[in-house]
Symmetry: D2
Subunit: 342 residues, 4 copies
Amino acid sequence: MLSFVNDYSEGCAPQILEALAAHNLTPEPGYGCDPVCESARAKIREACADDSADVYFLCGGTQTNAVVIDSMLASYEGVVACTTGHVALHEAGAIEASGHKVLTVPGHDGGKMAARDLRALLAAFYADGSHEHMVFPGMAYISQPTEYGTLYTRAELQELRAVCNEYDIPLYVDGARLGYALATPGSDVDLPCLTELADAFYIGGTKVGALFGEAVVFPRHGAPRHFFTQVKSHGALLAKGFVLGLQYDTLFTDDLYLRLGANGVTRAEQLRAALVERGYTFHANSPTNQTFVVLSNERLAELGEHVAYEVWEPVDATHTAIRLCTSWATTQEQVDELISYL
Amino acid sequence: MLSFVNDYSEGCAPQILEALAAHNLTPEPGYGCDPVCESARAKIREACADDSADVYFLCGGTQTNAVVIDSMLASYEGVVACTTGHVALHEAGAIEASGHKVLTVPGHDGGKMAARDLRALLAAFYADGSHEHMVFPGMAYISQPTEYGTLYTRAELQELRAVCNEYDIPLYVDGARLGYALATPGSDVDLPCLTELADAFYIGGTKVGALFGEAVVFPRHGAPRHFFTQVKSHGALLAKGFVLGLQYDTLFTDDLYLRLGANGVTRAEQLRAALVERGYTFHANSPTNQTFVVLSNERLAELGEHVAYEVWEPVDATHTAIRLCTSWATTQEQVDELISYL
Amino acid sequence: MLSFVNDYSEGCAPQILEALAAHNLTPEPGYGCDPVCESARAKIREACADDSADVYFLCGGTQTNAVVIDSMLASYEGVVACTTGHVALHEAGAIEASGHKVLTVPGHDGGKMAARDLRALLAAFYADGSHEHMVFPGMAYISQPTEYGTLYTRAELQELRAVCNEYDIPLYVDGARLGYALATPGSDVDLPCLTELADAFYIGGTKVGALFGEAVVFPRHGAPRHFFTQVKSHGALLAKGFVLGLQYDTLFTDDLYLRLGANGVTRAEQLRAALVERGYTFHANSPTNQTFVVLSNERLAELGEHVAYEVWEPVDATHTAIRLCTSWATTQEQVDELISYL
Amino acid sequence: MLSFVNDYSEGCAPQILEALAAHNLTPEPGYGCDPVCESARAKIREACADDSADVYFLCGGTQTNAVVIDSMLASYEGVVACTTGHVALHEAGAIEASGHKVLTVPGHDGGKMAARDLRALLAAFYADGSHEHMVFPGMAYISQPTEYGTLYTRAELQELRAVCNEYDIPLYVDGARLGYALATPGSDVDLPCLTELADAFYIGGTKVGALFGEAVVFPRHGAPRHFFTQVKSHGALLAKGFVLGLQYDTLFTDDLYLRLGANGVTRAEQLRAALVERGYTFHANSPTNQTFVVLSNERLAELGEHVAYEVWEPVDATHTAIRLCTSWATTQEQVDELISYL
């Protein structure tokens, strides 16, 4: 059966397997203090156009969010996210487990935070005579692409940045699927742009061709003090850090990361073209690798005989929104077959 | 240069690389809910001789300790460990970060907890009229092998178990290097023995041939309630759980895990035979893959030209204890070369 | 200047001062293990009609909420509250500081939780295929009276109780101002009713005539295991517990607690009668000691010359809602004077 | 029966009761933002000879330690204390509950931290190649007087201060019984000395004549950022802050705090003179209000018929160390009667 359930169903780009095999018996120092990680960091710094960026490798998305947010917030601060933000909904309280509240604003255009909403929350907070009895909004958290696959434009990020500057809080970008955002035709947000506008972001590996792993970037020597130890105390320090370094070194060689992202986006575009042609309604206007489409429950049952997908939410009594996820691994044959069932 | 620094310097057993390659493009469900993980679990259950054991896969040792200990303790309880225990010293406060104190007893014979010390601590606690103002000792934590490479005998574990039963607290065994313990000639503690005597333990992969990963075993359906969610809220849930499952499925096929352990121990025995022959003094009597030996600082400098090792601690003004670590990856040639420098 | 800012502006009922003076040099054991606390507990049990109720004394409301909620939830659970609930808004993240998310539902009729909303949240949670990646709703938190001074009826509490039973979660009632609720004419929720329907609640002292202090009641021997130690580990255990016991012993002698509550409610009724007469609009329909009324900003400025009040929120460009709070300490003269300014 | 169990058995100095009564119906703003607290702060600043000291009032000792330590440490730091330190032993893990490890050094001369031990711990930490995997020692915690009633001299505090300066960590002094230290003849550590040498300390009220309450002093505008909110998020903010302010305003009027302390010390000196005369052995050489003396178990039983005391620890099979505690409240008659039983 075809699987379009998500973008973390397969292993990794073959180049990574090759690199792991080639390097397998070369001994390396532990905990990411090795030349392989250094090489990967250098390549990421170059891609970000920031020689001074601090780069760390972690294992997964929720872990990365929990460590980065906890290390950038004071104990009395919370993080502002959209109600549909991953940290707000689907991390089993990992942010709260390290003592921080997730403060929410409504999402727009598929889970995007509006600068006006962020400013309104911050303004209302400081205008409230009781605000010292409340959780301080200490950081803005957004995802690029969002949980609905939509993208911020450079202008939108600049507006959010302006609000963050106004209130002196950092902007953090969850890039679990960043490769797909970077590879989307027409997007004007590249790595140097993110590096310029964010105080921290991560370049997701798990969903974009790595076996596992996320690369956290703190532009302008911006890593929190003793971040290494904070990673360790969160249980997030990998002994064989070079396994992460090796993957990122490979992903940032010959533009592999972008090429993997482009595959996911191209396959999704093919899928969406077919859906448009056949008159389907979209549940969100994602230009990236996730496609949200509404089907009658009848059609859904038929489709389910051939294709695995993720049920997103019921739309009405007889229709359901589902997510069809392409990825770095999706082949032309698989998309063609999927289209044949629609 | 030769490296005997530690047992997590190389990648993984070639069989694991092969399995990863073979399975690479087969889509699997996320988060460990896949047939590969199920197969690995079944093999582990069989090796443990407990059909009812709950088995989970995590990424690293500190993470595993933090998640398991936090999920098994009440908020007012701490964990009892030796002063040299990994959780007491080298986890950057990961146990305290989830709110639990590490209560310590002195180690014996290379970091082993004596049942009499554990009983004394528990008895003194309950005899203290102020004990309700103190942290309740809620679990015993030991390592097999210990941080000094020494081993508990079955009889010693039974004694600890008896104390735990007396005070109704669980016994948890950190098996970061368990493969080397299981493969040590003369040890009477095998997996079924651990399964019988412990309430939780983990079968370390990172240091015994896996790329990364640890398998937590809760015998007799003993997993803490909603352990899956607790793993997630600790940021410890891997999206591609099947990458862990695949490794353990391979490690538990054709006794690979034991064979990898045996390699590390055999190489260490060869090394220790040479050290004995040449009259060196040992710093701890480890029968497993770690060798602790005392060298004059002069000899140390010479050795350092050819071999990377870990400085353990100064012994006196002119001598230092070092650790020489063999592993699943150490070859006969490497040990022979090391011996030639001694 | 008159003060109607809040109900914790004055010291305490004179009877409490007398009791403190009379008892002042009698030595008592520490930490609430004294005959005075025992006497207070016995009186509270009697008032609750539950011989088996566990009763503890704490210092303040936020502290009590933090300790009770943390001790009743598993680490992977959050507490469900109204968006206007005190724990959701005005406790500076004290609930999150002990690791728990506050999950919210909209409030109705002045911040009341509807049983249907609670059921919907719980049903949606368990229906969500991803719920194991989310915070488990582990408790319902409500306030009687609410933050807007409104009251649950017995029937409404029974409905909430039914939902809690359905999903096997406890119901916890924040009674910071409980005395005013109990003394409100027409309310059918008395202490035995709360005792029957809640798993935990507290009888607020700070705002109802005590110098400070809250009495937590866990009906039916329901105190969390080692609650005493959990109080201590939250920094909430008072050395001179008898100072709290003495206050509650006094408050539960000759119905003082109810009489103090009645004073606050009667004064508020007089105020509201005057407001109605003069055609003011209410911002919430509180029958208890808090009165929420809308004033033109002009009127507000005039009033502010004579009376201190709390600005609640702007209503429109030219009107503002304020809170006028009466209490156990408000005199007839004070209310009459206030009315003369309206 | 006589009680020499502890120094928190009675209510408070009569002057405090009078102040509470006199002020009882004067409305005050909440949360310590009132003129009474301001007056108390001004008097404390004057007594400390530091116009720029930040002063906050909290409810109890464990609470104060937990809030101050958590707010002064980074998340990856722990606090260094003596093994007998209150935070290490008798606070039910309140420090760990906010995520921080208590690192210990042995105590000397009745639980005093030696500057050489502190320096050794810090030097060893930074010399350890693995120290980034360990908890950073981020603060020194001492008690004046110690848990055994002994006192640091000015010279000893200067030495500790020098080590703290060397490693750039703050020095925090737990002054739960500070009044007795300040009133001890011959002690050269007064409030200005503490203010000069410590980064934070508290002036204990609960054990020195207040009903409850501790005054935290951060010299030189040294309060942690948003300390008010941090107090609140720990559940430690008292609504009626003026009740604490009023007590400290009274304690710091006409040297009451010192006079109360002097009473406890003088009574203890009388007791110790009698014990010396009768040939008893002391268990610790406390010059303050706590007296630790060794009795045969036989004598102990006899004494117990007339006097309540605290068993400290068994000394040998037939002898036990007990604590006899005098206080601000102990009368000449009570000491004379106690002496008559010895």
